[in-house]
Amino acid sequence: MATVIGGYFTSHVPGIGHAIARGLKQDAYWKPFFDGLLPVQRWLADKKPDVAVVFYNDHGLNFFLDKMPTFAVGAAATYRNADEGWGLPVQNSFDGHQALSWHLIESLVNDEFDITTCQEMLVDHAVVVPFQLAYPDASHWPVKIVPIAINTVQHPLPSAKRCLALGRAVGKALASWGGDEKIVVMGTGGLSHQLEGGRAGFINKDYDQFCLDHLGPDPDALTKHSALDIVELAGSQGIEIVNWIAARGALGSGALVQKTRNYHIPISNTAAATLVLEPAA
């Protein structure tokens, strides 16, 4: 039977990719963030997952506004990274886990989630950066992935409540999967930040701490806010917390232990955070 080893949550700011490319991990500006990944690296080295189910949002690499799915599930054999337009080095492709993808798709549609399926899907920094952080020395990615993209670009956006329900349905599907893989669930993005408008540079430490405090023990607390409430509380791009909320849902209803937690302001325009939750023994 497959095992969900836990959830790994982190920010995916493109600047992190630039900092890695420029060898700045020990730079005073970056060190407080990168050091927060060391326990994650150790945890993954210990647990050795085979598969990652990754909740993230695309930033205009794979999806344009011509067709914008609210929830899109990858079902590809390979996921390529590609040029996003502003100089991030293109990273290695990921192997997909197509059988698990289709199992998730069958189960989600059976549970009345009207998802989009993608047999071709480029993955942007929101997928790549968290893997660069988790496996800094990898010559190839040691896990297969199933990416699940949530629309955070074109309003109306799905509610936090719906994202949590999607994640719970993914967790249910993982529990009924017949394979023997070890699976890590990932939620990427956030925390509070805003790139555009007169409020560019907005950060909300209190809201971020509320999210970090409640995500594990009481994720429903994060669903009392509408998507627009979260935009107001966390900034336009702070809405990416819905990726974390969905990933939390996929960890199921059992008690969780916080293995590590880090929070640092700022990385670029962002309040950056890293969290690992695992099932209580």
Partner: protein
């Protein structure tokens, strides 16, 4: 029966453009152009002749002017979405801190200091 001509009222969040259907309708051409900048060839074609490139994507005069002046607030007002606009900014090696400073009317140094100060509290 009167036909409705506009969607339901928009919620206003100060200083925060909400990229809704109205913005999507207004900004489609501009965003489509910016999406094309995922390709290096297209970025070079834009750099070589911005007017011709804007023409290819049927940008409105307001959108062309906003691009020409590299005024992010004007691009947003013309329906630009920041995820796609970032690719245009990238052509000019402007990152999100540069455009943050521009939109808030701060110097880059002051904008960065503002972010650092939030971490110091």
């Amino acid at each position: 029966m009167a036909l409705a001509t506009s969607p339901s009222p928009r919620r206003v969040i100060p200083g925060t453009p909400v990229y809704d259907g109205q913005a999507a309708m207004k900004g489609y051409a501009l965003n489509a152009m910016c999406y094309s900048f995922n390709s290096q060839d297209n970025r070079e074609a834009y750099r070589a002749d911005p007017d011709a490139y804007c023409e290819r994507f049927h940008l409105t005069p307001e959108q062309r002017e906003a691009c020409k002046s590299l005024n992010v607030m004007a691009m947003l007002n013309a329906g630009g979405n920041v995820y796609y606009l970032a690719k245009l900014a990238g052509i000019y090696h402007l990152n999100v801190q540069d455009i943050g400073a521009q939109q808030t009317g701060m110097s880059l140094e002051a904008f960065k200091a503002m972010l650092l100060a939030q971490g110091a509290n």
